[in-house]
Subunit: 297 residues, 4 copies
Amino acid sequence: MELLDFEGVISATLTPTVDLREKMAELVEFHLRNGVRGFFVLGTTGEGAKLGRERRAEVAEAAVEAAGSKGLVIIHVGSSDIDTVLWLAKHAARIGAHAVSAVAPFYYRYDSQSLINFYQTLANTVDIPVLLYNNPGRQGYSIPFEELSRILETVRPRLGLKDSSGDPDILLQAIQRYGGERFLASGGDHLMAYSFIIGYRAHISSLATIYPEIAAGIHRYVRDGRIEEALRLQNLLNRVRAILKKIGPDLASNRYALLRRGVDIGGPIPPTRQLTEQEAETLDRLLPREEEIAVKP
Amino acid sequence: MELLDFEGVISATLTPTVDLREKMAELVEFHLRNGVRGFFVLGTTGEGAKLGRERRAEVAEAAVEAAGSKGLVIIHVGSSDIDTVLWLAKHAARIGAHAVSAVAPFYYRYDSQSLINFYQTLANTVDIPVLLYNNPGRQGYSIPFEELSRILETVRPRLGLKDSSGDPDILLQAIQRYGGERFLASGGDHLMAYSFIIGYRAHISSLATIYPEIAAGIHRYVRDGRIEEALRLQNLLNRVRAILKKIGPDLASNRYALLRRGVDIGGPIPPTRQLTEQEAETLDRLLPREEEIAVKP
Amino acid sequence: MELLDFEGVISATLTPTVDLREKMAELVEFHLRNGVRGFFVLGTTGEGAKLGRERRAEVAEAAVEAAGSKGLVIIHVGSSDIDTVLWLAKHAARIGAHAVSAVAPFYYRYDSQSLINFYQTLANTVDIPVLLYNNPGRQGYSIPFEELSRILETVRPRLGLKDSSGDPDILLQAIQRYGGERFLASGGDHLMAYSFIIGYRAHISSLATIYPEIAAGIHRYVRDGRIEEALRLQNLLNRVRAILKKIGPDLASNRYALLRRGVDIGGPIPPTRQLTEQEAETLDRLLPREEEIAVKP
Amino acid sequence: MELLDFEGVISATLTPTVDLREKMAELVEFHLRNGVRGFFVLGTTGEGAKLGRERRAEVAEAAVEAAGSKGLVIIHVGSSDIDTVLWLAKHAARIGAHAVSAVAPFYYRYDSQSLINFYQTLANTVDIPVLLYNNPGRQGYSIPFEELSRILETVRPRLGLKDSSGDPDILLQAIQRYGGERFLASGGDHLMAYSFIIGYRAHISSLATIYPEIAAGIHRYVRDGRIEEALRLQNLLNRVRAILKKIGPDLASNRYALLRRGVDIGGPIPPTRQLTEQEAETLDRLLPREEEIAVKP
């Protein structure tokens, strides 16, 4: 699958903690059935940074096995240390992932020349496309657009971008400067409709792994010029997002919300604690029922 | 060496990038000669989080070999994933480190119950003492004192604490509540004199790895009741700290400052870039000369 | 003029520091000529908070005199003290302003019940419409949407809203919940096209006071379904915005940019310093030329 | 009273909302009886920024009348607009205040040249000493020490400083550079013992207006070299501070805490809401009893 040809929603896929291969296949089916055929695996939602490299390799294998022939599979290989990044990237390329992505290296702050070193080393190491994943809240520092731009234009071959800055101005500049020639994906679910409206062809969505039909619906409505309906779905998505962020650790509540929809991928990855009973009950009360999720064609 | 008996400055030791064993030995000698006999290895200053686990293991071995019989060696094993933390902790215990420490897990935020899970798992894995390393700026979230306290009192056996919160109130509460019964070390070099004054017996100092005599001097002066002289050294230390933070990436300028003092441990760990020539010249101009560093006995 | 009937761009009008009446009239003409007929006077861009109440009253009078019969005039009466807010609001009502607005009281943080007290007192004091102006960066604290909502639904008669939170989720929730029934204006110029797309009828724009044709163009293009052209203007606006924020104090560079366009309203209000010569030259070089600003019909 | 001769604790005096003259006199007596004879009136704790200028003038008069002959009276005249600052400063000088102070102008951010304009204009307007009050949390921006320093050294006659930055490094630099030659007061109650230890002769204390004996005790103990006892009081002060910040709006809970000690100065200044009954009960339960406050001589 050609990265630049992809159009639609990419799910920031959750990582099963039980029966890995089987559950990953079930989760992928759940996505495909609901209109999502792109997978961003082991990213922030997929909790890659919480797993040792061998475990990450197993998850990547399960994802490629389940989805590699049916959709787009991007493996997130970001880490605070570049040794691990390169080890994971080589593995992902070897098993047939379509692309790898790495969040800007975290724990320390890096200036743009250091980031160029980082992404150039990564791009030199694998033959598949590489995406810079910009997530200031997780990496711990912002990268102004002029620096992002310098990195994108210096690193060879042509780096792609997943931007989760939450900054509408960065999203707009990126699409106007690089649209069509680079693979660009927006992130940040509250900006999904906006991103499609301003011209993004791909959005990597955290909530698509739980509510794929809502995310796919937003994409389809915008594509068809039905902006008002897209915005109603966007508002629904925002409500769900606020609930999941508020009740319990979101890395646990995401799994619970998916369980309620019939897909049981196991409890949270340690050390994240389980939901309390009270939190689960609150989620039962607040989360939308299936009939509220149903998206009109 | 008993952790609770240790008194003085612990150096947040820099990590050589060339001739590891030889350079680590040289660096340890430099510390001992200048009054510092504690070593916090592979922490924030030591750039542990930037190295793959095998390289971290080698650095830990070099440190224990060079300093294990002459001082206190604490290996920092923090990571965003607990698999790596446990792997490193087991290794550190096996090679004879005196203690391990882990920064609160980063990339995601964790609540206190999740942190209890984390530190309890770590404490269950090794027989040597374990220190919680609280560094909000690096881990990405604050831990209020009541939560720190809950963690310290829940995790068995008795967890120690390295607090780099920069919050004088947390430092004071910790020493008044746990002083004498737990191993407590302050961090944050601008609070070094203050920490010793309020009763800390150990301070883990970033700048001690470059200017051990200044750090050791602050400790000695406070111990001897020569507060005014301690504060003059503290002010000198703060000036150096401001310069190193301002000129170039500090992970590169720290190494350069040490080189100027005659200890060459190699250039920055990738992807951090080298200093530019201009930055090096600025540091030459701004950093104190040897005669300014000399500490009166 | 009925507030709810207004549609289009409202300029966050700059405040002349010389020849007040004459210059205000000139500035109003410049706006009308370029498609902007709404005026938000003495707000953040208009520097109301920097002027004593008598001076604010004079500026309000000049604005009502120049624009009251030709457009919509909203006087910003926000202050850290409610005595001044009420004094200014009574004055604005007396001279014939169409509405008053007050930023959430600043210097201290206030919870929602305290904010209800504030806006209810203000609404009780004047007979003209009142707008809550939400600007977290200036007031110093965020108001979550559920609190905004509680305030809007408690204070009688129906409070309007100017939201400059910069949060696309708050903008979307507000328009979906209160659109049509309340006067709602978006703020934050980088979200102007987005706001009109999601259904806002009014946007209060900082840059409209310097580049009214660009702001009016964005509104017109969105209204006419020419999204791509709207987004190109939005991107141009964002570039100008970034330049004005970066070079010199923006309260001085805004005036200089307007001067370059032929409207001289005098230098910065003390204590803001003048631009240096070098800053002025940099602005000359970076700001768009008149032919770049021209908006196609 | 000569400013430079003053030594001890200065109370950031609360402002009575009933029976102004009588209650201010009672509050002043309460301070004097408990070892505090300095008064910083209408500052952050005194809620100056929430009152119209006429009301501020009345409060200043009540304070000078009650305390002018028995202690040091500094009137805070800070505002977002310089017109009000100058009006209040002239009034304070006229009624016999010993000094005026102004927080760095808020609502907007100002660079150091603009701040020099501000403080120079203020210093030119009155004949009594002027203090720069640096409170990043309230003014909305930080002033690095080199900029503070530039302001202090440029504005004539010699500006004093109240530093509430909460930054131990700024406190240390200021006292080492300007100690003895300028009037310097530390702020930030959690740094009170630290400030006296590093050489400050005056600390402006928020909690001294409720617990003057604790604040005065910290000063006395440090002066007498009884550091351990000073730190115990500091810890007690920190506990009270945490409670008052946590339960209810602190501008209401401060008044309630004082009421519980027998001094009734009236309820909160609008729009700050009243405490709920539950908040009052929680405070009753958590705040220290009189016997816990008693300070040994």
